[in-house]
């Protein structure tokens, strides 16, 4: 599932792109007096955006897992994150230590996966993609209603002891250093660890191999005796646990509330940028979207009235798609009559 990507072009292209945009902005700043630009500030915004992007990646990752294994566009990923975070908060309010609450919540997500496979996916096998997509919107509504009914709909505080003080880095290069939010930094590390763990799981375990086989070709996998139904449960469970991690990190940052379910929408441009079927795509796409929208909002936003991050990511992805319809790392689309 984790395909090796050509590293060298990226190592060249990314610094060139970053420097290029910076130089472009510097050029504008010379032309337009109201355009504020400083390299230190630029990097600060860029890093904040990248860290934000890691969180988008986490949500996108859950999408990709499910899409690869079952071609289902899982709209409920965001509400799974909300539901998981709500359960986590609920268990912690009962006085449990957070790792224990985490394990129980993970168990809950596995249970959710089993129920979804039994009740929703199994009867809908072989239906059109759009029908399955609508079914996941149904799941979205159910999980939202259920989670909030069970645990209440107030904004909740989720604190598992991640430090929140901002820190300064690279003081030697830029005047005053670059301000980095420590919470985001820890979140990014967690995301990295999760991705590494998933990579090991897919690459080196028996189940992981079966998952990759199913992702490649359902029917071939079935014919060599891989139980498709079990695989689906596992995939949804893994996606649920990814959602739990994403939910904890987002919830810890902004409080656990209904709007958490809507972060899924932010993950969609990430998906089309990276390709629906590629895990590295989800990660790199998340980073590009996160950094891109932050930089655009801070430096360009006030020229058009601000709040452009609502749609900037979509437009970026849209323009990108016109040139490369399968996304950055998506499988090449081959069509036959």
């Amino acid at each position: 599932m984790i395909a090796p990507i050509a590293l060298v072009p990226w190592l060249v292209a990314v610094p060139v792109a970053i420097a290029g945009i910076g130089l472009l902005f510097q050029f504008f700043a010379g032309l337009v007096p109201s355009f504020f630009f400083a390299w230190g500030y630029y990097f600060e915004v860029l890093i904040a955006g990248l860290l934000q992007g890691v969180m988008y990646s986490l949500v996108a990752l859950g999408f990709v897992l499910i899409f690869k294994a079952s071609s289902i566009f899982n709209f409920a990923q965001g509400s799974m994150a909300l539901f998981a975070a709500l359960s986590m908060v609920g268990f912690m309010e009962m006085g449990l230590w957070w790792p224990i609450a985490f394990i129980i919540s993970a168990g809950v997500m596995v249970l959710v996966a089993v129920v979804i496979e039994r009740v929703v996916l199994r009867p809908l096998v072989n239906q059109d993609h759009i029908i399955l997509f609508m079914a996941t919107i149904g799941i979205f509504y159910i999980l939202d209603g259920f989670g909030q009914m069970l645990w209440g709909s107030d904004v909740k505080v989720l604190d598992i002891g991640i430090p929140r003080e901002p820190m300064f880095a690279l003081g030697a290069i830029f005047e005053g250093g670059i301000l980095i939010n420590q919470y985001d930094f820890v979140a990014a590390l967690t995301g990295g660890v999760l991705v590494a763990a998933l990579a090991v799981f897919f690459q080196y375990t028996r189940t992981g191999r079966a998952l990759r086989a199913v992702a490649d070709d359902h029917q071939a996998a079935l014919s060599v005796g891989i139980p498709l139904k079990t695989i689906w449960v596992i995939v949804w469970a893994v996606a649920g646990i990814v959602a739990l991690v994403a939910g904890i990190i987002w919830g810890g940052k902004a409080g656990v509330q209904f709007s958490l379910a809507l972060i899924a929408l932010k993950a969609l441009p990430v998906l089309i940028l990276g390709g629906f079927t590629s895990i590295p795509g989800a990660i790199i796409g998340g980073l590009i979207i996160g950094a891109g929208e932050q930089v655009a909002e801070v430096f360009l936003g006030h020229f058009v009235g601000g709040a452009i991050q609502d749609w900037f990511a979509y437009m970026l992805a849209l323009i990108f798609l016109v040139f490369r319809p399968q996304g950055l790392f998506g499988e090449r689309i081959i069509e036959r009559v």
Binding site: L143, D144, G145, P269, A317, L321
Partner: protein, 359 residues
Amino acid sequence: MLYREAGQFKTDYAADQAIFPILQDRIFLGVFLLIALVAIPLLANEYWLSTILIPFLVFSLAAIGLNLLTGYCGQLSLGTGGFMACGAFFAFKLATAFPDLHIAVVFLLAGLGTAGVGILFGIPSLRIKGFYLAVATLAAQFFLVWVFNKFPWWVNYSSSGVISAPAREIVPGFFITGTQASPVTKYVFLLVFVAILALVAKNLVRGKMGRSWMAIRDMDIAAEIVGIRPLHAKLSAFAISSFFIGIAGALWAFIYTGSVEALAFQIDRSFQVLFMIIIGGLGSILGSFLGAAFIVLLPIFLNNTMLAVDPSISTAIVSHIEFMIFGALIILFLIVEPHGLARLWQIAKEKLRLWPFPY
């Protein structure tokens, strides 16, 4: 026994190609329209008209629009809310800038404007397909709502950011917008307007254009090979679909709510209309009406039942349970009848034609 076409011979092509070839269907439709046009305005009370029938008609039009695009042409769109906002704000700007323009013309022009926007956002559909396209249409959704929310020009610089429909008459003496408008006039106007547009849509999908859309939907490459131009087919589907959706948006703002802000056209609106066509039936004009009726009635029904069962229940719980039942019903529907209510109606008619004989 009554519903049988035996003995009804068609002697010319016009009769053979009629929308309702069976006499009983025509009688049924006539009676139905008569009831809708005469009996309901006389009998229905204000509550029924303004909370159920008027939104039902507005949503039916939006659902027809989306069905043309998604059901007939196969291009999944999640931008319905954005296009409805387009229609609403275009109509508002037109109605306030040209006070003498007839209101029906305003609605049609707003629809035309939205069609232009639809073409613009339909251009990516030539390159991308399926869910990629669905996500791309989300760009339209977020961008359009942002535009109408951000620039005060669209609301004539009103500080609240809300547009209120100016009072307009459809024929002298009968207001359909503004505070003097009575629900009955609104309803009758909407009924006639939507019925005409539905007829237009029905004929479009039966004609050359509709056939080319369906060919694209079923397999675009094959369609291209047999000589259908994807550019024309896809962009015309986007344009006409947006035209209908834009008019629906204008009607929503002017006739149903009377005043509206851009945030009323968020993504939930898009999903709501998408549910209507899925539950009603993809690729069916009748299905658009059935789906709209279902989605409009369901929350009202659930709400009232729950309050009837336990009046002390809190509104938060009601809305959560409503969410859950709504989701569960959608899944149930998809499992039981993925082709929607229109398909059920068709099955019922076929059964009825043979009844009481099993074969």
